[in-house]
Subunit: 336 residues, 4 copies
């Protein structure tokens, strides 16, 4: 029988998840939606045929018809909604980051530990991208020997409107917002070593409004791990060409790179501008297939009882991201 | 209400279509399957939950519960089954080629003309690949000026077992089997000019068993069109690296290429073997997304009454493919 | 002691060879130049310090101070000047094609046979390009098994002035002018099989003036060889992006490609136009290093007495090119 | 009249410079060589025809027949030999780094200031690579807006013999030895902003012997500049595939990358290993053309009196490299 799922939060990413669940996730049924925005609920009903619509999260999470919930709500709500869902007996998928606050993450972990038969999974979507999955399989198969260095970037097409500037005060900063994926990938590829120290530096290239909240639009960070592994991250909001997410894993017998070139498709144009291809425009375009697989993996996890990634992964990503962010502000090396 | 679809033929490609219809084609319901092979019907029931199972095509096509049928049967059956389905009042999707015989194609067209409210669509799947669709949109937008030359290839990973050798007597030869896609793409990109002449040449590199039926495992062909456009095709069964389908469209102000490099994913490996990537293994891997979109397009066509491609496209592809095949055998230029 | 070399013909390519000889060819001394154009001789004196200047080819070739001559004169003069130089006891480097006329080629070969201690070498410059040389070494080492198919193209940036249109009446047509290099490469890579038949087709995309002399600005040709090998050539005068010379050698265990993408250098630009690189502009830019190595190889051949390629190679290239050109005009398959 | 040049130091790189000067640098004459190693002097005489051979640097630098000297001696000698050469009235080309010691660099600058008609040029060879030169021209032309970030790496093929381990005690460490080029490129591309702070971190992946002298075989560094520009460097001794030197310059309107992929030539191989190309093996292979142009630029500078780069560039590179190296050891952010 299909897993009955409800979704809370129907912004841009929430709608994407809702569509995946309603249309392209065999074994799942999207039966309920929750949003304080009437138009979003109406969309869920009209576009996806969802019949149970909740304005209140409390009512939503208590809905006995639901086996699982997918939380695509503002970051500040993630932790307590995850706790509420677990306590209501639901499996939970929650978008990243679990929380900007390390103590919150740890508290969610503690609650989850009391519900070992409930899945709680954080949306590190890149793990479900076929290329990242292949790279991880290659690393695990020893293709590059012992991995000891990850270089990873998340670079977004510049938004001249600077939407993210208005979002900056609550985003947790560029590293918590963008690099949290790279941090998770680095840990994953390196075999989950413990991070010890972090240093960050950044600059504002195009969006002076970020200065107010101590944020930057281009940031660099180095993270040190026990055992000698290292990672370096780059995050940018100001790319002129598109969205380019890349990761390199360097080992003693080779290296793997993922995503360099940001090809949108297999078309190459030769004309008076040179030899060129279109880059991907945004993370939706880049990770469309990963979003689909991620929902499939969540459904599979609810059935099997085994999650492909743990809340501890989310906690560690927050711990490292927070240290990087502290370093950006202090200008000094920070302990993780 | 969902379109009720039945599928006939559940070989490798038939299973793929069936899965798309059952799981990933919103607006469609796979309600019936037809196969002379009991195990295939059982698979449809067990894996996809299809409840109406037919051994007989006649019973299948007469099933009043069906709005549309998808035919993935042997090529020799395509034409008469398409006619039967149209006469039974069904929309039809039929795999390529419509027929190896030009007269059969024309007859199907004549029948279809009597059922203008029924969709009859042939499976030129590459038109639904995002990269090919983008290239076509670029050509139509004038990005390369006036297109006048297409170079297109279909090259398969060598099968040391030589399965296709056994299939050769009925495949219509390498050009009808592989190049028919390239022929269709060339016509599409060039704006459907009328082909006038064809020349082909080929060689047997690895599979001497093909000689018996006059076939080759590597073939080249040049086709001339009215108005001066030209196309050159390459088909191979013997690639060592994988499946590489490429098309170049050359115009007066630029050129587009699709598929060169055959990247399977976004991973690049650097090691003692050099800097390298995995190629796609076969057309399923290359055109997975196109197969999904193709079924979506068929469902949309049944609803809108407008097909994205016509039986005349299939007839022209057969006409050109047949002339190329004649040239391969005669060694001379043949009129199309 | 240095080889004393004279050069005849100081057009664009002649100047390039003269500079290589004067500046970058250790073991060679450019001591004489010959041209009917006073300004060209003056350039040789002023720019390169050449002191012996001849207006008359007869005086030039008789100059006892010369060990070798480099002929970069109009194609119609190549054959008889090569003969004259051999008879005067000089080593000869002559630009391609040796002659558009097969009988002329054969006559030069007959003369050369009488002077076995004189080097006579034709300018198939691509053999000296590091990439082509590597590809040939790979083929010879068995890297792709038995090579059985070559696809090769010479595509030039469109010249809106259409200089080559005025040159067309004497160029021998697009295949003799451009594809002669591809023909030579195909023979070289395939191990010099004997060509048996040829078919060609072409179109005029941008330069209607070519019609007068039966030439085209885009041409395709298929050549068949004894033993089953095949080649397909593409030549174009109308590229929008630059000069792109590519060759693919396909064998039973792999394939090699040379030159695809036409990168001018190692710079990639990402901006609002996409992700792109500059292509090479013309064959000088593409084959600059090959021109240098070619002169070095000629000097080495004069010293060692062993030429890296023979007049027979030039004769075969002309034989095949002439058959392709006949096919373009007759519209039929032609015997080679 | 040709510039008369002497070379001191005939190790691997010295030999390379000597050959360029003797054979491929029009306007230069290599007339003298200096080395304490008899075999090296003999090579200069036998291979290049150099007739004046010095065992003693003092005699060499005093040789009145010399207009200019090229110093390819051990780093510890660079500064005082440069001073000696300037004081002897010679133009000087000295290999990088000018000195590991900032005070030494400054002293050389002070001496050079007393000889304004003498050229003193440090061997930042990458500036003479055609791709880097094109990138710089693009940046200067505003192609990427205002450049604000440079990412640059120097990664060498692993040497299982670990030759550089023995060299480590005097190399100045990985950053002074390898990254000094990247540091110079960053300053050049960013318009010579003043560096303010540096942080470095590293690891030993394969060569434990480096620990003794506080060096690493893989190092990362971030450098901050006045005005907000940033640079991040990566240096590695342990690549499995070859030598890959890359630089990215990121600006407000685009980005340029140089060298990614490390293609050795234009050959791509498709076989059972995938689709792949050979990488360049070492910096000689990568920068062969740059070494030639560099000597040409030095000769041109001696004639024109204008150097393409200044001693101040070398001093700044050492200043930054030294701060990075201090940070590697202290584990803290260091002022530059």
């Amino acid at each position: 029988m299909s897993l009955r799922i409800g979704i809370a939060g129907l912004g841009r990413l929430g709608k994407r998840h809702a569509e995946q669940l309603a249309r392209f996730t065999p074994g799942a049924q999207l039966v309920a939606a929750c949003s304080p925005v009437a138009a979003e609920l109406q969309w869920a009903r009209d576009a996806l045929g969802v019949t149970t619509l909740h304005e209140s999260f409390d009512a939503f999470v208590a809905d006995p018809a639901l086996d699982a919930v997918v939380l695509v709500t503002p970051t500040t709500l993630h932790a307590r909604q995850t706790v509420a869902a677990l306590e209501a007996g639901k499996h939970v998928f929650v978008e990243k980051p679990l929380s900007l606050d390390l103590a919150d993450c740890e508290q969610v972990q503690a609650v989850a530990a009391r519900y070992p038969d409930r899945i709680a999974m954080v949306g590190f979507v890149r793990r479900f991208d076929p290329s990242y999955a292949q790279a991880k399989a290659d690393v695990d198969a020893g293709a590059i020997g012992r991995p000891f260095l990850v270089r990873s970037q998340t670079c977004d097409l510049n938004d001249p409107e600077g939407f993210f500037v208005r979002f900056a005060p609550t985003s947790g900063g560029i590293f918590m917002d963008c690099s949290v994926h790279d941090i998770d990938l680095a840990r994953w590829m390196l075999g989950n070593p413990r991070a010890t120290r972090a240093f960050a530096s950044g600059t504002i290239a195009l969006h002076p409004g970020l200065a107010e909240c101590g944020d930057v639009d281009n940031g660099l960070a180095i993270v040190e791990f026990e055992g000698g592994a290292r990672a370096v991250f780059y995050a940018s909001r100001t790319m002129a060409h598109g969205h380019e997410t890349t990761t390199e894993v360097i080992g003693t017998a080779g290296m793997l790179s993922v995503g360099i070139g940001a090809q949108r498709d297999r078309v190459v144009t030769r004309d008076a501008q040179g030899v060129r291809h279109r880059p991907v425009a945004d993370f939706f375009e880049r990770f469309g297939e990963a979003f689909q697989r991620e929902m499939g993996a969540f459904v599979a996890a609810c059935r099997s009882g085994v999650a492909p990634l743990t809340l501890a992964d989310a906690t560690e990503a927050t711990r490292i991201g927070a240290a990087i962010t502290r370093s950006l502000r202090s200008g000094q090396v920070e302990a993780v």
